[in-house]
């Protein structure tokens, strides 16, 4: 071999022009075939079939058991650390990832594990809320923003994904309707009163109640316990079913909060319309916008409400758990559509509003405070991309027919693993 390598003479000679031309033709033909294949990759509903696309290192990552790794990472990080080690360990972590320890409201040794420290709360008042109509829901880096054109959202420059693939599409013939679930509480649309558990309240009374209380504090909402939610509305056995995740008994305190959100939103509760808003039906003179915020490992990992809005439903898409770092976003097409995510859909004063927390390998668990039934990153066979379970929050507020949220109100967060 050594002799052959060193002693074989190299003889260079030009290729005929025809070979180069044939090569170009072959490359063009391959591109054309790929393009035509893309056009026909549709499912029975006419939706594009999402597949792993990208350079070879993306396919190597796709072959890894990312979900199992993510869960293992979660278990490891829930291991309770010795009290003497906690301050040192968390300080090392904070120095490595740039956490500001002055912002946390508990002593370092009170966090039993790295997972608990990662999901830390902040001191009240360390995040002043701007008066703008839209504020940041999380600490992080703005990756991208812009206008949604032709239902295409730009992931990075030149790479787009379809909005329907991100948020899901309405499925007719859902087994449980809003009307069936709301039989014990209803809103009379054309008259300004609401009937709750047999008692009629005028909306003036409800809003008046709110005016009489402290306008700056946010009353805490009664949350359903996990067992209540599961008993009242067992989770669906298969993908595509709908169930109502909210089992909150409405109280006057809740109603005062809801009325406050209604005022902030600039809508009168009695003007609720039937059905829910959709990204496909925007009002004349309006446009659809998007923004993507990336949370790095050291960032505070809870997310808050970006505006005053009402969450009407959530769609949980079980997917893979690729990294969502800017490096990966530039290489893997449809990254946000392939990953496990929770699409929270609703409305604000300008119409449709949607917020989608997207998980990743290290933070695969998405928690939503007002939805105790939601479980993400669970063991099991992966459903096809695009399949989701849907929960509606119509019982959360009889006035607003959804879960009302005020600007910067904590909504949930990402947990390790």
């Amino acid at each position: 071999l050594m002799n052959a390598w060193t002693e074989t003479p190299t003889k260079w000679y030009p290729l005929p022009l025809a070979v180069g031309a044939l090569l170009l033709v072959a490359i063009q033909y391959r591109k054309k075939v790929r393009g035509s294949r893309k056009e026909v990759e549709l499912d029975e509903n006419g939706m594009e079939v999402i597949r792993l696309k990208g350079p070879w290192h993306v396919h190597v990552m796709g072959a890894l058991p990312l979900r199992n790794l993510s869960r293992l990472w979660g278990y490891v990080n829930e291991v309770e650390l010795p009290i003497w080690f906690r301050p040192h360990g968390y300080r090392i972590y904070a120095n490595l990832f740039g956490c500001n320890l002055d912002e946390i409201d508990s002593p370092l040794d009170s966090y039993p594990s790295l997972g608990a420290f990662f999901y830390r709360k902040l001191k009240p008042g360390v995040r002043p809320v701007d008066g703008a109509v839209l504020v940041s829901p999380a600490d992080g880096t703005v990756l991208h923003f812009g206008t949604v054109k032709g239902m295409q959202v730009e992931q990075v420059k030149g790479i787009t994904y379809h909005l329907d693939a991100l948020l899901g599409v309405e499925r007719p013939g859902s087994p449980i309707s809003h009307a069936e679930h709301n039989r014990d509480m209803s809103i009379v649309d054309d008259q300004e009163f609401a009937e709750i558990n047999g008692i009629e309240y005028t909306l003036e009374q409800l809003i008046g109640t709110s005016n009489g209380s402290s306008g700056t504090s946010t009353p805490s909402l009664a949350q359903p316990t996990e067992s209540d939610a599961l008993l009242a509305h067992p989770p669906p056995k298969k993908y595509g079913e709908r169930f109502d995740a909210s089992v909150v008994e409405p109280s006057r305190d809740n109603l005062a909060h809801d009325a406050s959100v209604a005022r902030e939103m600039g809508v009168r509760p009695a003007m609720e319309r039937k059905g829910s808003m959709s990204a496909r039906n925007i009002r004349p003179g309006n446009s659809l916008f998007f923004t993507v915020i990336y949370l790095a490992p050291g960032d505070y990992h809870r997310f808050h409400s970006p505006t005053a809005w009402v969450v009407e439903k959530r769609r949980h898409f079980v997917g893979e758990l690729f990294s969502v770092s800017p490096w990966m976003a530039k290489r893997l097409e449809n990254l946000f559509v392939l990953n496990e995510r929770v699409a929270l859909l609703g409305r604000w004063k300008y119409g449709f509003f949607g917020m989608v927390p997207v998980g990743a390998t290290n933070v695969g668990s998405i928690k939503v405070n007002f939805d105790q039934a939601l479980r993400t990153n669970v063991r099991g066979r992966l459903p096809p991309p695009g399949a989701y379970t849907e929960a509606v929050y119509s019982n959360a507020s009889p006035i607003l027919r959804g879960q009302p949220l005020t600007p910067a109100e904590e909504m949930g967060g990402f947990r390790l693993g």
């Binding site: 109509v133 839209l134 009002r283 446009s287 923004t291 990336y294 970006p306 119409g351």
Partner: protein, 31 residues
């Protein structure tokens, strides 16, 4: 992890951030 916002707003809505900018909870995104 990532948070994606998709929303309807008047056509003259303007973002007040730039790509790559660090933001914190409550920071103005647009108006």
């Amino acid at each position: 992890s990532t948070v994606v916002l998709v929303f309807e707003a008047p056509a003259d809505f303007e973002f007040s951030v730039h790509a790559g900018q660090k933001v914190k909870v409550g920071h103005r995104l647009g108006d």
